[in-house]
């Protein structure tokens, strides 16, 4: 589903990502972990087209997407959520998700239809599955942080992605919110047969849902494998887990 082949990215001489490769099979749930500054978000931005790699290539479902602009990458079936919550604050919850449906289904240049009722059923069904339906009429800006993160997930899902990239989906959440969000994400991933790649600080979250873990350190992959193997890896314990436990 996703293949990243030896990508490099430097900022003003600082090597943020120095030759990372990884591959994800369809339906797989994988996590990228690593200390702050390990290059996780940069790697995401290289995949989604927000940054262009200095070297290397990215393939989505067998098709090369290296250096394509984000709107093209999105249309090819890649959804993402951002580390800092990224919604449309002065649109209602309903409109936030509906806009993603409009764009994804190619109605964005439709100047003649009335927008109000377009994709109402799809939008409401998606909001219901996220537990946001009762708040459909509220402005996105007025939701709690946790609810905004869920709304952002809804926006990403409305593009009906094959691959979903979540950058710290539980950042800034309380323990309860984190727990609920993780249950929600794994349920949706299972129901939709999504391939999921996420970064996360909370190790409990990572080890509870990831089937495979890639550990980044200083822009390089230092370990990769199933959770149990990564947990036992001495190098990982030294640079990362050891520091935090």
């Amino acid at each position: 589903m996703l293949e990243v082949r030896d990508v490099h990215k430097a900022f003003d001489g600082f090597q943020a990502v120095a030759g990372v490769s990884l591959a994800l099979a369809r339906g797989e749930i994988a996590a990228i972990i690593g200390p702050n500054g390990a290059g996780k978000t940069t790697l995401f931005n290289l995949v989604t087209g927000h940054l262009r790699p200095d070297a290397g290539a990215v393939f989505l479902a067998g098709r090369e997407i290296t250096g394509l602009p984000p709107h093209r990458v999105c249309r090819l079936g890649l959804g993402r959520s951002f580390q800092r919550t990224n919604i449309f604050p002065r649109l209602t919850v309903f409109q936030n998700v509906q806009a993603a449906f409009l764009s994804h289904r190619g109605r964005g240049l439709d100047l003649l239809s009335h927008v109000e009722h377009l994709y109402r059923d799809e939008t409401e069904a998606l909001l219901a599955s996220l537990g946001l339906l009762e708040r459909a009429g509220e402005l996105g800006a007025f939701l709690s942080h946790g609810a905004q993160k869920q709304l952002e997930l809804g926006i990403a899902l409305a593009s009906e992605p094959k691959l979903l990239l979540l950058d710290e989906p539980t950042a800034g959440m309380s323990a309860t919110e984190t727990h609920e969000t993780i249950r929600l994400i794994s349920r949706i991933a299972r129901e939709r047969g999504l391939t999921l790649l996420f970064t996360e600080h909370d190790m409990d979250v990572v080890f509870s849902i990831a089937q495979r873990i890639t550990v980044l350190h200083q822009g390089r992959v230092i370990a990769e494998g199933v959770p149990a193997a990564v947990r036992g890896d001495p190098e990982v314990r030294r640079v990362y887990l050891g520091e935090r436990r």
Binding site: H71, I87, F88, A99, L102, S103, R107, G108, D110, L118
Partner: protein, 323 residues
């Protein structure tokens, strides 16, 4: 969407506007024509300002080019109004396509500065090109459209030519408002608001942000051009200061004063600004001082503009009524 009967405000507004020549003097018709045309100009700007989140400092370029287009075609080529009027929209829209192509590559203040720069170039051309535009002297004596058939109608037939032109203006402006309303209520209009709210996220629901911005720019320019086409006739002449940057700032003030978060906000802004201008200049020569004071108060007290303030007041009344 409540079930309560909707008041047809648009229709009432048009009817009220149409009644002006029958109730008032020539002076009222004059002011009302000015208001109707500039309301269209301000609402066209708001497609960029309020809906797409783009601040254009050069919207007068398209207004002015529309005015010159209609004026030149009618005066020098004898083209009838039915062709010369849409031509203003087409030419202004094409110009917006060319300028917009470059402008949407920039963001925020850089976008604003480039729109201003392009507008000043257009102004300089119109100011200097004596053979075509009449240069600094402008182009006086634009003919009225041929509305002789109105004179054969009962009631309307007794009115003056300027009243007839006013009625035509009201109908055309109302038609443009209807079209623009459709645009902002369409899926395209909704996508524009996602760009206003968060261009980065909009890009990642699959929106090619620059392309949508360019289309909004072209539409806004085309409708400004139509307003300009009417204004040249109303003003009985087209002059380079239609394009000067002060005209661009005037229309920005109208939109902000009226409330750029509302479709008709800028139209209300045009009405209030022009009527205040007429009234206050007859009492004092310090009109800019009064305007400045009003704007300061509004910006701090009612950031949503006049319509925003009215809307907030209405909601408070509703809440009180329910309690």
């Amino acid at each position: 969407m409540s079930a309560r009967a909707r008041v047809p405000w648009g229709l009432l507004g048009v009817l009220a506007a149409l009644s002006v020549p029958f109730l008032g003097s020539r002076y009222y018709t004059f002011v009302a024509t000015d208001v109707a045309i500039l309301a269209l100009f301000a609402v066209s700007l708001n497609l960029l300002l309020g809906y797409t989140g783009l601040v254009s400092f050069g919207h007068a370029a398209y207004f002015g080019v529309g005015a010159y287009t209609t004026g030149l075609l009618m005066k020098k080529a004898g083209v009838p109004f039915v062709l010369a009027f849409p031509a203003a929209g087409v030419l202004a829209g094409l110009l917006a396509l060319v300028f917009g192509f470059f402008c949407v590559r920039l963001t925020k203040i850089y976008f604003a500065m480039l729109t201003l720069a392009f507008a000043q170039i257009v102004w300089a051309i119109c100011f200097k090109w004596n053979d075509l535009t009449g240069g600094e002297q402008g182009m006086p004596e634009i003919p009225y459209p041929d509305l002789a058939w109105l004179e054969r109608l009962p009631l309307v037939g007794e009115l003056r030519t300027s009243d007839h032109f006013y009625l035509l203006t009201v109908v055309l402006v109302a038609l443009c408002f209807w079209l623009l309303r459709r645009v902002v209520g369409s899926p395209f209009g909704r996508i524009l608001t996602t760009i206003r709210e968060n261009p980065e996220r909009a890009e990642f629901i699959g929106v090619h942000v620059r392309r949508w911005e360019l289309l909004a720019f072209v539409l806004a320019g085309a409708f400004a051009g139509l307003a300009g086409g009417l204004f040249g006739i109303f003003n009985r002449g087209v002059f380079p200061d239609f394009i000067y940057w002060t005209k661009s700032s005037e229309v920005l003030i109208m939109a902000i004063l009226g409330g750029m978060g509302y479709f008709y906000g800028p139209a209300v802004g045009a009405l209030v600004l022009l009527v205040l201008n007429q009234q206050i200049t007859s009492y004092t020569e310090y009109w800019p001082f009064v305007l400045g004071s009003i704007l300061i108060v509004l910006l701090f007290a009612f950031p949503g503009g006049l319509v925003g303030a009215l809307d907030a007041g209405r909601r408070r009344l509703l809440r009180l009524g329910r309690a």
